[in-house]
Symmetry: C2
């Protein structure tokens, strides 16, 4: 049977119009936001409108041994959603309903295509919040957030996506629909397979429904800004502040290059000429927030901060958070204006090693003669050094790739991980084997094979 | 080779004196605190002094196809630590060192045999806390807590054990030592196998080291007590209070029978004659705690509470928590005095269904003519109805078992789980298959087989 005939057979089993084989449309859906990752040629794109569409695709894929790549908004940074040769792409972005909000249980059930910020907005009207806030919060889907265990700025106090996932409905490789996890606050009935599927990057099944734990609406935070002469003093401030027993609701770091790009991009009230800048928030109740920011100020000044100020005006808080969120577009504009590109790294290290990390990062920067601009979730030790390069210059690209790799090696050397929140995908699959020991690698492979024995789900990603 | 010769060979590979074959000692280590669970006859007991002992046992077990049961303090309530015929018992209680406390990262590394309360005490001296507080907090080990994903009273605000596990070192069935998870606050490098091992009840590997996330020392809470005429009004109070956006740090419920047993056991300041009683705590900063307890009072009174009082005296708080912790010994004394036993159930349901749950529980109670005393973590919907029986009367035992099963069925019917925090073990393995759908059962089995292909690790438990 020819490929065309087979796809006609699939189309007949799907919601009307769900299958798209137009090469331009399929091509436009064949990559996420990662650079330097292979993009295969897919057979077709299925815009799933319902669980039945996903079931039909997986049954068909199993019958015909066709690989399947699941996608949401394709905002990922590791190539996990990139097409594989001969694969079917399942895009679940249209499955975007909020199915249920339970104010007593403080949970919601959603389809995977709901945009994170849209969910936050709906929940806020009901006095509830879903804290995880990846940089892509305005454009990424909850399904993608679950598939990558997305993080963000809230994590230093409120944790990551996996801390909010109670239950998942998934479609397995053979089309079986199964419920994993539990709807309740606690539950220990069997192996925790919902936890296993969080962060599995589409390699174990297709997530079609998610039950999330929620929190009461968070208190509006106080926001502080500290300006430092260099990254080391900012890093030491983070270590000392966290060791003091502080529980900030945000603790973000930007280097001087990043601050300059933001100030070039727009006026967010950030000072010029900073060597490094920390943004801190406390949403502790009442006077405790003020006390936390005062403690931060004392520590920052002792570490050499040139200036520390804070505000209880919500407008200021929003502006500073907007400044942090502007890192990505500001950097894009900067590299775009210079005909270049940026490789965004994502290491997470113990926060006691931040000072050392920045010193070593400067050495990498110098050794490869590349420009590195760094921002990140300092409170978690999760740093995003962006290696900038000239896209028209092969040597510049090679140097950027080498520096990018050295940053991961440095992360591992300091007791950290090659990826704090962006995932492995294609981009870091050669590095995953360096992070995991032999036993863990074997376990990962065995478990993948036991769940997806034909190897149909996102082949070549993560586990290689 | 005879069994004796084989064991001599094992002894030679272990720390001196680690292997015990004395039948009385082995017998005394062959069960945990569960009732009505089979207890097999083990070949021997290995009191592991180091990781090498565990490795030696697993290699030996693999060579000779000998089942292995891992134990800590054997305080579990599901029979998961019970001996299996022909098995080796590995007891890790002697591996009880706190290896490292990192105040900057807010983590610690511990061996599995550390007692939960001992760890809390050591951490408190460093201004840190490890919140999970199962009823067995004073006697159970962190390793056991991880193996069962233990909960407790803190969970309504601070979550369960899995929320604190960053990394595990485990010995696999073939003796391979591997590190799972990550030391850092965030990390998404590969499948989350540390999460898979939490709550796996010794069926996937032997946990020999644990890295836990910690929190700054918690604020001393305010404590409130509300006395109700019946369980339904207490249940409705829980639903309404949680729906109001409250974030109590404790919300515990006891029925009248339980309160009477506690008052018979000691003076903890609880009123006599209550139909039901809620204990609530808030550890929110400053005046917010008072506001939370005042809101609780208003809701409780609207639901018919006869009396509500609260105190900011730490001594009162400790006394009320001690009262809650006295449920277990008070009930033991009560049933002991009546020549009886108690089957402690552990369902978790959506908290909006608590009122319905209590009404239906009364029906079960009446139908089987058994006495049921109920306490539990109402804020999580995690209830522990204890079915009391006359141990000398087969009919009473049979009725208790039937009522116990009906309580699980009721939990499932109300959208909950057969076990919120005690685990499956032997006790609930026939019920696990009712909770999981066919796809999930198959996945559980396949994953177990992929990790432990010879089926040596705690065979017959959990997955049957």
């Amino acid at each position: 049977m020819s490929a065309d005939l087979r796809l006609e057979e699939l189309a007949a089993r799907l919601s009307p119009g769900a299958l798209v084989t137009d090469a331009d449309v399929v091509g436009a859906h064949s990559s996420d936001k990662a650079l330097f990752c292979p993009t295969g040629t897919a057979l077709g794109l299925v815009r799933a409108a319902a669980v039945d569409d996903v079931v039909a695709v997986m049954r068909f894929a199993t019958e015909h041994r066709i690989p399947v790549v699941t996608q949401g908004a394709r905002t990922g940074l590791s190539g996990a959603a990139n097409a594989v040769d001969g694969a079917l792409l399942i895009n679940v972005a249209k499955m975007d309903s909020v199915l249920d909000i339970d104010e007593v249980e403080q949970t919601c059930r959603v389809q995977p295509g709901v945009i994170n910020q849209d969910l936050k907005n709906v929940l806020a009207e009901r006095g509830l919040s879903y804290p995880p806030d990846p940089g892509s919060v305005a454009i990424s889907t909850i399904g993608g957030n679950v598939a990558t265990n997305a993080g963000g700025m809230c994590c230093v106090k409120y944790g990551v996506t996996k801390d909010y996932v109670r239950a998942l409905t998934v479609v397995l490789a053979d089309g079986t629909v199964t419920k994993l996890g539990r709807q309740t606050a606690k539950g220990v009935a069997g192996l925790d397979l919902a936890a296993l599927f969080v962060g599995s990057e589409g390699t174990l099944g297709v997530i079609v429904e998610i039950t999330l734990a929620l929190r009461p609406l968070l208190t509006p935070p106080l926001t502080g800004v500290a300006v430092f002469p260099d990254m080391e003093s900012a890093g030491h401030t983070v270590s000392a502040f966290m060791a003091s027993g502080a529980a900030p609701s945000m603790l973000e770091l930007m280097d001087g290059a990043t601050v300059a790009m933001i100030n070039d991009y727009g006026d967010f009230g950030l000072p010029d000429g900073a060597g490094a800048l920390l943004l801190v928030q406390s949403d502790a109740a009442g006077p405790t927030a003020v006390a936390e920011l005062e403690a931060f100020q004392t520590i920052a000044e002792a570490q050499g901060a040139a200036e520390v100020f804070f505000s209880d005006d919500p407008a200021d808080s929003e502006m500073f958070v907007a400044a942090r969120r502007a890192v990505s577009p500001a950097m894009e504009r900067y590299v775009g204006a210079h005909g270049g590109g940026e490789l965004i790294d994502d290491v997470c290290i113990p926060r006691s090693r931040l000072g050392e990390f920045f010193a070593r990062l400067s050495e990498i920067d110098a050794r490869y003669d590349v420009e590195v601009a760094t921002a990140g979730h300092a409170g978690d030790g999760n740093m995003h050094p962006s290696v900038l390069f000239d896209a028209s210059d092969e040597e510049s690209i090679a140097a950027a790739k080498a520096a990018f790799a050295e940053i991961m090696a440095l992360g591992l050397e300091l007791g950290g991980t090659i990826t704090g929140e962006h995932g492995v995908g294609y981009l870091k699959r050669d590095w995953l084997v360096r992070e995991l020991d032999e036993g863990a690698r074997l376990l990962q492979t065995r478990i993948k094979e036991s769940v997806d024995p034909l190897g149909l789900l996102n082949p070549g990603k993560m586990l290689g």
